[in-house]
Amino acid sequence: MPIVISGTTITGLGSGGLPANSVGTTALADGAVTRDRLGAGTILQTTYLNSTTRTTHAPGNTLSEVSSSYRCSITPLYANSIIKITYHVPWNMGGGWAANYIVKVSAKRWIGGAGASDLSSVGVSNGSRWLMSGYADRPHNGYDANDMNNWSWTTYDAPNTTSAVQYGFYAGTEGGTMYYGYSGYASGGFAWDANIVITCQEIKQ
């Protein structure tokens, strides 16, 4: 193809024939920016869980997983990335509780077939205190089997892997039964049903 100069227009040149620093428009087409172009502090990926699983849990005063359906999966692109995890866990005490019972929840990580492990944001060894990355709470005034308590919190982790990771949570109570995603009562003006939502965002370092 000939090179034609007409007035101030040149045609017939490929990108490689142009001055240094010239690029083709395909380099900036819609959708052309890939993850490897992003710098530190940018969000490389976002995953989410929007669970309709409804279950009860009565673990007593130990922490255990409520349901493996309450896990959000992410596969980090870089081993040194930080993961931001946001939880929205609505639950009901279902009745049968003492007013001063304590309930606890803490974020957990699973990698491969290994068991649950603590996140980087879990507390530090401090006497015989529980190490937590979440909540401890008591019932509020006048609670009953219609009430919603809600664990909504944001935490972070540095999993140091590029293998698939899952983020979920452990919970425990002093007694009674907890209802996850719904109230114990099914009728009445204040009974409710709500999804469990967990999101994960990988932040490049």
Binding site: V33, Y143, M148, S187, V197
Partner: protein, 206 residues
């Protein structure tokens, strides 16, 4: 300005970007701020973020779920119809002492399309006659008074399936009494407070 082709230096000068053949741009097109949301080419990318930081202060006294203020909406126009929206709420409220200790207060996220309220994707599923909620039910804490703050802070998701402009806000109600949005009823005591209502939405490419 003359067009100069310097074969020794391997450069062409004297012409603007528009003068090159179709499909060619200059390196300035890759300058800071040029990688806008539409350019993102991978699933999971945040392609835009919108926020409302509302200084509107209102009271409400409705026992039926209703919108508190249209000022408490954040607007977004999705770039892609299959995007997922992450919506974060921070709603500080003050409760009056005309409440009974066991009154329940409720809040649930809403999507507005053309002004019409709709449930979002995080709302619950049909389950007996339970109310479907994407938010909170809450009672006062112990010894609450008119300086206390109760905060609704949570994040939910939505799949609006549109590229038209939408808004995210919330409905709320209480069993009785008055709720103060963004401030305490008491304006003088050392525990009185004022705080903005903040709603943020992030569009996530799929």
């Amino acid at each position: 300005m003359a067009v100069v082709i310097d074969g020794s230096a391997g450069t062409i000068s004297g012409i603007g970007t528009d003068g090159f053949s179709a499909g060619t741009i200059s390196s300035t097109s890759l300058a800071a701020n040029s990688a806008t949301g539409i350019k993102m080419g991978y699933a999971g990318a945040v392609v835009q973020t919108q926020v409302v930081n509302s200084t509107t202060r209102v009271t409400a006294a409705s026992s039926n779920m209703t919108e508190i203020s249209t000022s408490y909406r954040v607007s977004i126009t999705p770039l892609f119809s299959n995007s997922v929206m992450l919506i974060s709420y921070h709603i500080p409220t003050g409760w009056n002492t005309d409440w009974a200790a066991n009154y329940v207060m409720r809040v649930s996220a809403k999507r507005f399309v053309g002004g019409t309220p709709q449930d979002i994707s995080s709302v619950g599923v049909t389950n007996g006659s339970r109310t479907l909620v994407a938010g909170y039910h809450q009672r006062p804490g112990n010894s609450f008074d008119y300086n206390d703050m109760q905060v609704w802070a949570y994040q939910v998701i939505d799949l609006p399936n549109t590229t038209s402009a939408i808004q995210y806000g919330f409905y709320a109600s209480q069993e009785g009494g008055t709720v103060y949005y963004g401030y305490s009823r008491d304006g003088n005591g050392s525990w009185g407070w004022d705080s903005n209502i903040v709603i943020m939405v992030q569009e996530i490419k799929q």
